[in-house]
Symmetry: T
């Protein structure tokens, strides 16, 4: 069974309460529930955490190295300047997929650039909460191909 | 049943024969076959086309407007300068997902920038041929949510 | 009688069908008909061609050198990067006027820059299909002044 | 009958006396006379003014709002840095066409950029004094299409 | 009675102890006391918080949404790179005024640019602790005009 | 009694007549009247002047040095390129506050940069006509602290 | 015997007919004939192709991989933006030499930059048609040193 | 006898009254008197004018063409952005020398760049009021060498 | 006896466990022990702290001002964007030395730039854990020279 | 009597033999002779040196500190990149005037920028060999004003 | 018989001893010997010189003007910044060919740019020592075509 | 015993005589003496050389390869543009440490950038003459770790 740490960055705790036309109508709790439901069917175990603190996100990545096989991370606004998160991902050596709810390329220019993507396996953006689900799917597929081990549904 | 046009840009006809460490070991024909198999299970009809010609790609997009519900496009090197392809996508008004086999952020700087992504629903890169599959999944999910119509598996 | 080659670039075959608020409600065929009507009154012979292919546009310019006195060209998205079209115009030595349906300065920044304008006599943008008519008028006036020969209405 | 304010910017009072190879052999008075002649035939009333003062040009635009239907303006060197003129045009809300005697794209790089063009309907450059005539023609055509009112020749 | 959250960013707890020629001779406690005194006279209730932690500032903004009518924020050095704080302000939808003790244009270039100002009502800088008082005055005036409700002195 | 010169730059004579959603519904005369009323209560004498001419603004600053204690200036579009106004302010040595009706950071990029702010005491933007009032308040407070002399209400 | 594909890019079919002071007086056919003559003496077999179409050039490179030992390519204007041609060269893995008739450093700045040169063995420019001959000589010398195999004159 | 127009730009009427450590202790009247005295000895007739208005400076240059042999101009802050003054100098065709009281390279970066120098014979900066005297000397020497005519002391 | 605060930034708690070829094989605890041993011999008292939180690092710097004579700081990834840490160092006024384990110039470009170095006495990078020791040595030498006071071994 | 070191940079030994339209028809020996003649009349002693070697120019500046009161230097092409010469001038503390034979602003862009001018009293360019004479005059005037000592003609 | 000066720039005296995979296994003496052998067969006389000193290279170019018909120069690292060498080549007016042993486009970005190439006939890079031979061949071919004079083998 | 070549670049022969607040009060001879004393205690043999000539520095690096184990180099102003020195260091393959007396990050921007640092083991700046000593220490430590050989004190 694959174990994945899901990490939600700053302001994602506001989901469902503000700007639904941009981020969708689900709260973060509802998204986590749906992800867990889908994951269980797929034979994937997930843990999820949200923080507005850069340092806490860094440490969540470090601690994931003790039990998880990979990371699905939505770094929120930190995507655009947190070299600390980037170093954490590279430092622990876990495969990571960066996800965004909205299409970062169709928004303000400062959102086009991610300093975290270069140390990830790939990036998925623009599909509201499905970005997380697609990210999990992509990450587990990648793990299966790397190891030859299949998820046990 | 959803109908999706898959479009492969320049040099993708070389897949499986050259640089497998970068693009994977499958040929384009094998990828198309796998995509079709997976799509059939999902109740999705796909057509696919490859061209090295910018004009042909523009016209493939234009013609897709007559029958397809959306586009999954890997513009290859044209991603970085083809405003003609960008105008075609915006002109026909079909929802599109841009995909790349490799993580464009982990390669040369000129590959980080896409002039096509701003007119797409989203972008997926870094998962070899699975990027296409994830792109199809993402696009159909988006269509279902926009229309309330479900795929008929 | 003056002979002018009119050249329409990529995606202009979509005219009248898409984004009328931006490009007007006429199809390309209707524009060509109106231009031909107006030209006939003025004693001008025009040929017109549309292509989405950069190479075909290059060759249309080369072939125009065999019979035409000048070019009115709307290079569409190629305006912003096709040094090949620029070289073709300079290579054949025909006077050319660059035209655009919309005001390129009131749109995205990448549209402000034209690599083709520097090898043209002038540029006209922002007057929907009238840009072509004004371009023809401007080009023939220029030819008359250069040669002392008057159009034969 | 359409009423158009024609505005000539700095150094255009030198026309016909200096650099005829660049700007043509007509004086500004001769150009105004020709424009007036042509306008009368077209059923257009024009007023024209020249000034070397940025502030005077700003005020000419403001005052035109009391009587004119639109502006044809050759901002001369102010094209490249006068945000004050730009604000004036946008402030009064009159449709404006920017014209230049010479092809600004075929001259020094600082002339390629216009800070005024983005608030105009369109731009015409490169046809010596005919640029003004084409500008009038373009502006009145635009007014006719916007209002459904025809010029009364 | 209007309720305003005052937020002090990193290193502002050093005020009055260090670099008085740049930031003035008052401690943060003294500034808060003066603000509270002035606010009481004006019929304004204020809460104030200082933190050196970006995440804590993000959460202070989020929590203010439960009780306050607006924000006066001095983001300190975070002004120049914290897109997380920017997203928080936009996310909660409270009107905010950005203030700075010193004139940011008279200091190092990196201080000229604020990533937070674009999501604020306005910005005030250069008047030492009075910048806060002017910010409160400006914010309450703005609230009064938006709602038609007057402060109750 | 403090004496302050208020200076209004180009196009501000259009206030109240154009674009009220951007600049408010008051005319410049109404703003001046309100400022004078408020100033009188505060024991402040103000003179105000508006000009569209860069040179006239330079001279208004120079002449203020003969009688005023400071300047409140809204340089309008000249903010972004008039080094002449900047030199005038620094040359006469009067303390100045730069004000703007709208939040310059929430508009086009060219408006973010002010070449005049670096020679001012501070900058206030975004509070419609109140920006002037806040600017006067800020300037007089600054003068009082610098000199120990209080306004005589 | 070494086999080399010679590739001529856009507008080179105009050679000898236009701008001889820049490109020399030979037609492309004459250049090809001279190259073939020289090659035969050297024991080298060459094929040559010209196209104005970017896609056709991409495919010429791909097809060369079936029979040729290397490429001598004059990409013309495509040198400056065709990442598609660059990808083709790298994709097929053939050693390539980029050649130009004129010294690209002595012309417009946009010609100094080549996006294709980084994937070539070397670049030769400035010697009119001799650039091709020198390019062939250079490429074959390189091949001989790499393989230890000598050309068989 | 050579006739030279001396032109002083914005804020130079403040000379001697403000910032003497930067611009010297002489007033503009004193400088003009010294220049006239020195000129008389040299057999040179000078007229001088100062204006803070860009348009007035443009016209002073235009009018100088009726009587003067050349220009010595200190454009002050307009050096850095007045393409209108540049066009005036080139338009009238008089030889001009640009002078500055202070060393523009030892001040803020925006002062290093002059848009006017490219149309002048030369530039002299850094020698307080002597810059003018050296400029006159340089200009008359240049005129003597061009014409073979000597000043008549 | 000199008292120095040693500060370790984000991800340095991973030392010795990850990427030893880049950062060496010692854990942070081992490095601290070695530093303490060496410091004791030198008559230097050191305290050390590690945090992944930007705010905690800011406060560690502020608190060091109560007891320490200087700082040796490895800001990790925060080097490249934390103006908050920069302000803290300048605010408390302690002499600081920035150290890095690896040569930041031999790594990715974003690592070449430090926003913290400008407020430090000096910077040392490239000598694995010895960078700290050299930094201590350098800082104490600097302190001795500034004060004339010698370390008491 | 003032003593001035005149320094001629690289390629100036070619003067009079090459490109007279750009640099004039005098050889360097003739220029030195003229300068010496003019200097003697003025009561100035000059030494002059030419070198093509950057290091030799650095040492000429260092040695001048033993006897000269100032430097007149034409750094030739080194103007644009020799920070070593800049450091030498600042290091020895002699007042220096930078001169150029031609107007550097009317030539290639790389010549507009001087890295040496910021450490000089002033700069004179564009008056062929007279630039040296004007430079000597300017430097001695500056010395006289600084010291109150007059040249002894 | 043609006479060519061959010039080797800095660090080329290390050839054959260091980095053979980059520069080949021949020493500079061996290269010179091979060049001389080949040249003799071709009826070309060559002199060669190596120096690490920029000034010495400048003078070698100047002295070549007394006897040689042209230059083949490998400026080494000076290619990228020596405007002094550029000025020397243009000053003496000899035709020159710039050569490099390795493909400068396949190396670090700073090596892509040559400040010397714009004043040369052409550039050849990437063929180890053969670059010199090809350069000689190209230069003599160019001389023959310019003069109509043939080499006398 | 380790053998190290110490290299001092341009203007360092002025040390102790000029700008002591920037570079310290020791002459270069005194620094060398101290270094030698310290080195002897450490069992290190050093040779030192100073030159203002770029070529001489290049050759000093080349000659060091015959006897030394490494380089400590202060390239002075050449740090910022001497690719020749960079090539020499990489060419000879000796480990090098770049040192600067002052903190290059606290000075003019052009000094922040070093073209030499990328080929060094590390960089030390800001500790006056101790920078050299620390550099020697760092280099020898690095050598010992690489080879397992200890210095023989």
């Amino acid at each position: 069974m694959w174990r994945i740490q899901v990490i939600h960055g700053p302001n994602l705790n506001l989901l469902g309460r503000r700007e639904p036309e941009l981020y969708g109508r689900f709260t973060l709790a509802e998204i986590d529930e749906r992800l867990r439901g889908w994951a269980q069917e797929q034979g994937i175990e997930i843990q999820s955490i949200q923080s507005n603190h850069e340092g806490t996100l860094v440490e969540a990545i470090q601690q994931a190295a003790d039990w998880a096989d990979g990371l699905v991370i939505n770094p929120g606004a930190y995507s655009h300047y947190s070299y600390a998160i980037r170093d954490a991902i590279r430092g622990v050596g876990l495969p990571a997929v960066e996800v965004h709810l909205s299409n970062i390329y169709a928004r303000e220019p400062f959102r086009h650039q991610s300093v975290i993507a270069p140390v990830c396996v790939g990036q998925i953006s623009g599909f509201s909460w499905h970005s997380y689900r697609l990210g999990l799917e992509a990450l587990v597929t990648w793990l299966e191909e790397q190891t030859g081990r299949r998820r046990e549904k």
